[in-house]
């Protein structure tokens, strides 16, 4: 056993590698990105040839992983919580097909929306699909659970969800690491996973029949442990990372049921309720367990948590919320400072997106009723001063389709701005809709040759955008490429004017490398030359 200082994400990645992983499939998304990056850069993973190339979106990732599982090998799918929405069709149906090689679906939730549009809780998805969830409380458990999760997935022939939150994903601690296990050999499934209604109905009955065993596994799981040490006034159910905040507040002086494996162990919950006068549910994210516990114990049994206001209804938990809810007196603290201003994130100085917004704002100022529909990426920051350019940012790809819908309703000009990686993730199908409908929209694909917001991962469509747009049916003379630099401003403005005035679908592609990845590439080149 040796100890390594690892981020939660890195512990998950190394745990998967050492559990005999054969492929990771993912689209970058905070706070999950570092898992796949760790596997891409890990010498052992490289030597074994573990598949780790980025996917176009979470749905293609989930399906490819299911294919690898069908062939008998262990596959990991990683995404941020909203990625679960993108892959939901494949994910929910993978519970109906079942799996062959172990399949772990890693969802990194972002309560408090540090880098997200909502704080949906992936434990709902697992419950919806009726598959088990593991939820580690610390980096060591994150590492250890990967081996458990893969083995359990193969034992019950179902995908298994592993849920973490931002605080664990992006927090570092020492982790004891063991030897790597061999990968599964190629062992192609002999069953047919053809979900025609007649077959799917039978498979669904099979899935339902597995539920009592899943609950039983949670009842006896080493990760769901009971601690006794407090008065009988209160029993605490502490889920995942919430366990740490509870321990920080009360140490050993509390009756705690720690939950890190789901479905909820019903008997353990009933026992805690029987031994105490009330229960407090402490969980990061949405009140998934609190609602279930209310159902298990029925009306009349006092339950405290996020729904009752004892803990905040929104945002991530922290040691202060939890200590207060548990009745711990706060010590003296300094008041908030007086000379303080907010410092929101902003587009980098010299970034090409800046030049795109400068040009767009100048051109559109001449129209009384324009709207620019935005999308997910660094360029969402164009919504903030000084640009204040965006009317919307909803989900991956929505810029194009919302512009289309608004144009259908009569809005002019209707402009969409979308990044290169977001376009291939979920924008292409919407562009096809617009082409087929001859919608009067102007689409700006701001191409910085990378997935910038998450730190500069490969972008699936690099060098292919003109061909993709042409292939989808955009008229070649209305596919315009510009280089977003201040010196090119007159040309960019002229082209924008022409294409906004064109009554149909036009695509403008401002293309210049992200200045962060450009600087990194320059450093790498310099280091390489110095090494020669």
């Amino acid at each position: 056993m040796k100890k390594q200082l690892l981020l939660g994400d890195e512990a998950i990645a190394l745990g998967a590698i050492n559990a005999g992983l054969s492929g990771v499939y993912a689209y970058p998304g905070t706070p999950s990105t570092e898992i796949t990056e760790f596997i891409q850069n890990n010498p052992e993973a490289k030597a074994r040839g573990i598949h780790s190339r980025w996917c176009t979106n979470e749905k293609t990732a989930m399906e490819a992983a299911l294919g690898m599982s069908y062939a008998g090998k262990r596959a990991l799918v990683c995404m941020k919580h909203v990625g679960m929405n993108v892959c939901a069709d494949a994910f929910v149906n993978s519970a109906i097909t079942g799996v062959n090689g172990g399949l772990v679906v890693l969802a990194a939730d972002d309560p408090s929306m540090h880098s997200s549009q909502n704080e949906q809780d992936s434990r709902f998805y697992a419950k919806f699909a009726m598959v088990p969830t593991f939820e580690p409380s610390n980096q060591q458990e994150a590492y250890d659970m990967m081996a458990t999760a893969f083995a359990y997935s193969e034992a019950i022939k179902e995908p298994v969800v592993m849920r973490v939150v931002t605080r664990l994903a992006h927090s570092r601690a020492a982790v004891e690491v063991n030897e790597a296990k061999a990968e599964n050999p190629l062992n192609v499934c002999t069953e047919r996973w053809v979900l025609l209604p007649g077959i799917a109905r039978k498979r669904y009955v099979d899935l339902l029949a597995k539920q009592p065993d899943m609950v039983q596994a949670a009842e006896t799981s080493v990760y769901n442990k009971t601690e006794k040490g407090g008065s009988k006034k209160l029993g605490i159910i502490a889920c995942g990372i919430a366990y740490n905040y509870v321990k920080e507040a009360v140490g050993d002086e509390a009756n705690i049921l720690k939950i890190s494996q789901y479905p909820l162990p019903v008997e353990k919950v009933k026992q805690l309720a029987a031994e105490n006068d009330a229960i407090m549910v402490v969980e990061d994210g949405q009140p998934v367990v609190e609602e279930q516990v209310a159902g298990i114990l029925g009306a009349g049994y006092p339950i405290k948590g996020r729904l009752t206001g004892d803990l905040p209804r929104t945002g991530e938990l922290n040691p202060d919320h939890v200590a207060k809810a548990l009745g711990k007196e706060a010590g003296p603290v300094f008041d908030d400072a007086k000379n303080l201003a907010g410092r929101p994130p902003q587009l980098c100085q010299g970034c090409g997106h800046r030049d795109v917004y400068t040009a767009l704002n100048q051109v559109l100022a001449e129209y009384p009723d324009y709207r620019v529909f935005g999308d997910i990426g660094c360029y969402t920051l164009g919504a903030l001063p000084p640009f204040k350019a965006l009317a919307s940012c909803v989900d991956m790809g929505a810029s194009i389709t919302m512009a289309k819908g608004a144009a259908d309703a009569g809005l002019f000009p209707a402009v969409a701005i979308i990044g290169d990686s977001t376009f291939t993730h979920s924008g292409m199908t919407g562009l096809l809709d617009a082409v087929n409908d001859k919608s009067n929209i102007t689409v700006v694909i701001s191409d910085n040759l990378t997935t910038g917001m998450t730190g500069g991962q490969d972008s699936a469509g690099t060098n292919k955008f003109e061909a993709i747009c042409k292939g989808l049916g955009v008229e070649p003379e209305h596919i315009r490429v510009v280089v977003p630099l201040p010196k090119n401003m007159p040309e960019i403005i002229q082209i924008l004017k022409e294409e906004i005035e064109y009554n149909g679908v036009s695509v403008i592609i401002p293309r210049r490398e992200c200045i962060q990845t450009a600087a990194r590439h320059a450093r790498e080149k310099k280091a390489k030359e110095a090494g020669k």
Binding site: S115, H170, S171, R172, N318, G331, F334, A341, C378, T454
Partner: protein, 192 residues
């Protein structure tokens, strides 16, 4: 013994490098560590912080409770004030004195310095000038770490210097020496 530290600054100022060095030093010292970082959108020129917890005992929470930080180490004076409710009443702020102004509504500088000076324990220094004097303009963060060294207590200066050596080794001996020099100059400035 424990030391809870909030590291802060503006995205791109190099606070994660300070965290990495302290993490390595904690590994050398054989003590427990948890370090919550900020990745993603907030790194783009916005405020960033990292919660670093060092202890000889088991550490549960990745986050420091309010009034619990022994030390705030900041690359920027206004940012050092952002986390004031997290500082223990007996805690110390170690900060760069030079504002980084990338917002239109940055507070009045005199009022800001006066508020800092009104706090019980503050150590501030123009770390960029010191780094420049050390011939290492990019080493301001190591000057700051040097300034903070006397307050870390749970880690020795030797462990911190060894950590700098280990962390920067892959960038070559010259980079290691430059960072050690920046660290030493920060430590000297606080002692004198």
């Amino acid at each position: 013994m424990k030391k809870d530290i909030i590291l802060c600054g503006v995205g791109g100022q190099g606070i994660l490098s300070i965290a990495t060095v302290i993490g390595e030093a904690a590994t050398i010292a054989g003590i427990n560590l948890k370090q919550a970082e900020v990745h993603g959108m907030s790194q783009r020129g916005g405020d960033v912080q990292s919660n670093l917890r060092l202890s000889t005992e088991q550490i549960y929470s990745d986050l420091i409770p309010q009034g619990g930080a022994d030390l705030i180490i900041s690359m920027e004076p206004m940012e050092s004030l952002r986390y004031l409710p997290y500082l223990a009443k007996s805690g110390t702020i170690v900060t760069s004195s030079k504002p980084f102004i990338n917002i239109p509504n940055y507070p009045d500088e005199d009022a800001l310095q006066a508020e800092l000076d009104s706090l019980p324990s503050v150590v501030k220094l123009d770390i960029e000038s010191v780094a420049k004097d050390a011939g290492n303009v990019r080493g301001a963060n190591m000057v700051l770490l040097g300034m903070a060294a006397p307050f870390l207590e749970i880690l020795t200066v030797d462990q911190l210097r060894q950590a700098i050596t280990n962390i920067f080794a892959r960038k070559g001996e010259a980079v290691v020496e430059a960072n050690l020099k920046a660290f030493d100059m920060g430590a000297v400035k606080v002692d004198s």
